[in-house]
Structures are given as structure tokens and as C-alpha cells.
Symmetry: C2
């Protein structure tokens, strides 16, 4: 089978590519070819027997998506998108990449008329405050960012195109991915990873919000697991509601820090400095805290069950034990 990944150069895209190259199979079939697309060239994975083609460019450009679909990939992972902060700062770029790019890809698949599985990464950014203490699966999507709006539009198109039989789509709403590997970034959510990642490296980390903040996390490894599950699930068991809130570990920052202490000791915890930041707090206080995610669990999507497990996944996957 042939697999297309858009956004293949991003953090999740790279990890998905590595996982597919390692597994060598999906839905019980051997992966013969990988098409990797991004705005910059993704790295080619080393994998015997998998023919990899690298594509670069802007999905929203005329003809670009149609060209990508020429090889009729059996599974399309649509991960491409500009992130929340960028979509908010640059209105035109966000709508072009996240809305027009997604619609162009979906329309190219529609026109190709062969009904592949499409897996779309949506986000809990489709939700907007105020929230109940635990967000149920049937809670309305009222995004408070352009990014969340663009993801919601992608979800709506995915469901309609699936209903019409143009493709067999599954949208997965990812929680915050933690622990993100690599350098600190300027995302408002960056500290959730930073307060774990930096101390594990013996480096100080800043905590800009109160320890009482509750948030839901899943590891990069779980995110890849969600994508694989979304590719493999029987569409008939999903029904017409194709966009599913993923599970995760809902914990307070204090509980994150307690888990760090259990895994890495008091010296690691001592590297966390309180550094209240009103700008970050103004954003974070409007974020959802916990999700029911009952449907996702019933459909076989699995996240970690403790924040300790999230830290262990980071150590195993990034720090080579």
C-alpha cells in the first residue's frame, strides 16, 4: 500500500514517518511507498523495501494537491498546517494553509474518486471557554482562535465529504502534546513541556502560571498511536460523526511536577522556577481542562494513564534511557 503524509517535516510527521518505516505495514498490508509532503523537504527515512518520494510546496497552490493525488495513496495523513500562534498573527497565511490547503487536498481526493482513508489532525482548539469541568463528547465547538476556526472548518468538510463517499475520513482532536522534544518555543503551551524537558536535561525551566492549572496531555508517542489507530479503524463503527476528541491525561501543573519528582528526583524539581507571566496566563486560563473522550476510548484510541508514563515515554523516546 501507498501512504501520503502532509506536514511530514513537522514533529508529529517525522515521528509518524519513523513509526511507519519501522512497522513496514499498516492495516495489515505492507507499505510499498511513502509520499512525504511539506513546505520544506522532509527527511527520507531509512527503510528497506519502502520507496519514498519527497514532495515540497504549498498545498493551496493551483494543481498542487491534484499532483499529490496522482499516485492514489491508500491512506492520506493530513497533518500539514500552520500553528496556532502563527495563524493568529498572520490571518492570510492561516486561512490559506489551514483552510484553503485542507479544502484543496480534500477536493483533489474527491476528484480522484477512489475513496481512500483520510486521517486529519484537528485540535482541542476547536473548543472555546467557558467550559464545564469535564468537556463531554457532544459539547459544541466555539473556537476562540483563527487556528481553531480553521480546524473546525476542516472537520466539517471531512465529515461531509465522508458522508458523500468521496473519502473515508477520521478527524482526531489532539490534546496538548507533551513532552515536546527539542528547544523551548514561544507557544503559550510551551511551558507544559518545558517544566519536564529542561529539568531532565539539568536545565532551569520557567513556570509562568499557577500550579493549580489543569490541562490534558498526551505524549508524542500516543499522538502517533492515535494516527495509526485512525488509519486502521473500521469507518463503519465510527458512524457519521467523524471527528473525535482524543483521550489524554488530565492533570494539574502541581501533579505534573509531583510526577517529575517521582521519576527524576527532587534535584530535577528544584530546577523549576516560578516566573508568573500575565500574558501567558491570560491565554492559558481560557483553555479547556479535562475531556471525557469516551467515544475515543470506546473506539480503541489509547493514551497514557498517568503523567509518570508520559515522562517515561519522553525519556525512552528522546533521551535514549
Amino acid at each position: 500500500m501507498r501512504v501520503l503524509i502532509t506536514g511530514a517535516a513537522g514533529m508529529i510527521g517525522r515521528k509518524l514517518t519513523t513509526r511507519l518505516a519501522k512497522d513496514g505495514a499498516l492495516r495489515g498490508r505492507r507499505i510499498a511507498a511513502l509520499d512525504l509532503h511539506d513546505i520544506v523537504a522532509p527527511k527520507t527515512p531509512v527503510a528497506a523495501g519502502i520507496s519514498t518520494t519527497i514532495h515540497t510546496g504549498d498545498l493551496a497552490a493551483p494543481g498542487a494537491a491534484d499532483a499529490l493525488l496522482r499516485t492514489r495513496p491508500d491512506i492520506v495523513f493530513h497533518l500539514a498546517g500552520v500553528v496556532s500562534g502563527e495563524a493568529e498573527a498572520n490571518f492570510d497565511l492561516g486561512y490559506r494553509v489551514n483552510l484553503d490547503g485542507t479544502r484543496a487536498l480534500f477536493d483533489a481526493i474527491r476528484v480522484a474518486a477512489y475513496n481512500p482513508r483520510v486521517v486529519f489532525t484537528s485540535s482541542i482548539a476547536v473548543f472555546g471557554a467557558p467550559f464545564p469541568p469535564v468537556i463531554p463528547d457532544d459539547f459544541h465547538a466555539t473556537p476562540l482562535t483563527s487556528y481553531g476556526t480553521q480546524k473546525l472548518v476542516g472537520e466539517a468538510l471531512l465529515a461531509d465529504y465522508s458522508r458523500r463517499g468521496f473519502f473515508d475520513g477520521i478527524g482526531i482532536r489532539l490534546p496538548t502534546i507533551c513532552v515536546r522534544p527539542g528547544k523551548p518555543n514561544k507557544a503559550a503551551s510551551g511551558f507544559f513541556s518545558g517544566i519536564i524537558r529542561e529539568p531532565l536535561n539539568g536545565v532551569e525551566a520557567m513556570l509562568p502560571v499557577p500550579r493549580s492549572v489543569v490541562h490534558t496531555h498526551a505524549s508524542p508517542r500516543s499522538a502517533v498511536g492515535f494516527l495509526i489507530r485512525a488509519a486502521e479503524i473500521d469507518g463503519a463503527t465510527v458512524g457519521p460523526r467523524r471527528n473525535i476528541t482524543m483521550p489524554g491525561v488530565g492533570v494539574s501543573v502541581a501533579e505534573q511536577i509531583e510526577a517529575l519528582g517521582r521519576v527524576a528526583g527532587v534535584k530535577a524539581v528544584a530546577l523549576i522556577r516560578e516566573a508568573p507571566d500575565e500574558a501567558v496566563w491570560a491565554i492559558v486560563k481560557n483553555w479547556p481542562t479535562r475531556f471525557e473522550a469516551r467515544r475515543a476510548r470506546e473506539l480503541g484510541f489509547e493514551a497514557e494513564t498517568s503523567f509518570d508514563a508520559i515522562i517515561h515515554a519522553h525519556i525512552e523516546d528522546e533521551l535514549g534511557e
Copy 2:
């Protein structure tokens, strides 16, 4: 002030135009000019002191929406759209008119950069079965038609463009409008009006579904009232959730018929013939029954409080008493 109405040649558009011409004012200001747009030329209302300009064409055509915005209307009523059945039968037309047309209009307002009030008619078609017995205001939108999908996208854009300050938008989700004047049409919902309208005219009407079917209705007069209220409401009281499910009268078909009996007597009721139609039933059985619509009521949107009142409104407005 200047008022633009798209879809001005449609049933609601005509009634809104007539109401505005009669009132001569909106938001406490005199209406100096009306811009009426539709794919076919709307009728010019007779109103002293209001300068009316007729515009025809396809809102999604390049430059069309920008041209409409040149006069900087203070209030934009965006009613234009192809109906549910047409959007389902003709994929390209539905997406072009309902999604691209709406986005073109919203973008033209964004580019004009003067922050007018925009009133957008959405629909309860944004909801898709299964439903709770009463749909709360925070129930998720999972449309089961392309029309509902396109309305949902319009809602999402409206909320984001309002949040960014491009305009001050209010989306109103209309329930089924009943009693629709005029000839029977082929809409699956047509019988809800037909079983009242035809007997009042001494004509037989077919009932294709069981009398136990419960559905929510508002009169055309109420629909116009919703639009006026949406134009006049203080946006600050609405907050970021700009799309509001309108109230209505939730009744069973049996209760509709009882109301007809009270208003027009047993002779009218005797003109209703049971004519079960599996195709209509297959559609109608997935429709929502009742809505909480608490927010709308709190924000001053008023519907009839009985189906008798809906029938009286029809008699007064269409049958000249």
C-alpha cells in the same frame, strides 16, 4: 443608515424588505438606502424616502462582493443561499453559493474595514441525529447534509471575523419556518406548512409522516422579527459565541392539527389526508425535535408561544384576515 440584504428575492428576504420599508428605521436610525441583492432582481419596495438599489449576480464571482460593499452598508443581512435539497443534489452549486459566496461577502467586508453589523441566517440543519429530547444551546453541530455543513462553516467564519473585529456578526439558526406562504414545494419539510395552508384555502393536504412527529416552528413574521432583533442587539451582550439557536414552538403534528381545528374548524381538519411517504419519513425522522434556545430568549429573540398563534399570524399576514 444604509442596509444591504442578500437573498432579497427569497421569501424571508421579501418579507424583511417590506418590514424595513414600512418601519423606515432600524437601530433607532432612519433608513436612507436599501441595497437589495439576489441572483434574480428583487422587487423594489414602495417606500417614501428610501432610495433602493437593485443588484443581481453571483456573490462568489470575483469582485462581486467587493462591488456590493462599495456603499459601506451599516447593516448587512446575509440571507442568500441555495436551499437544503438543492445543495444536496448539486455539490458544486451548494459549496459555491453557500460557502464561497458567504466567504466572499465576509472577506469583502473585512477588506472594507469599517466593522458593520452582519446578520447571517444559519439553520438548525447544523445539527445531526442522534439528539437528546431537547437540544441544549451547547450541543455540538454535526450536520448530516451539505447545506448544514456549509451553514456551519459560515457560522465559524462569522464568529472568527467578529472576534477579530472585521465586523460585528450575529448568526441566527432558524427553525422550520411555518406556515410558508405560496404553492407547495418539494422540500421534505413542506408538509408542515401544507397541512395548515392548504386546508385554510379549502384544498386537500397530504400528511406523509406519523402524527407523533415533533418539530419546532416559527412563523415568517417571527423570522423577520429575529432578523430585526439580530440587527439591533448590542454585540457586547452576546459575547464570542455569535451563533444563536432561535426559539420556536415545539409541537407534534397531532398538536398542529388540533390547533388548526381550534382556529379553522373541523371542515379544515377533514381536508388532511394520511399519505405515508417512506422517503419523507426517512429524512424527517432524523430531524431535531425541540430546542432549549435559552440564550436566544435571554437575548430578546421572541417566537410565538403556541401553534395557534402561528396559524393566526399566517391568516393575518397572507389571507388578509
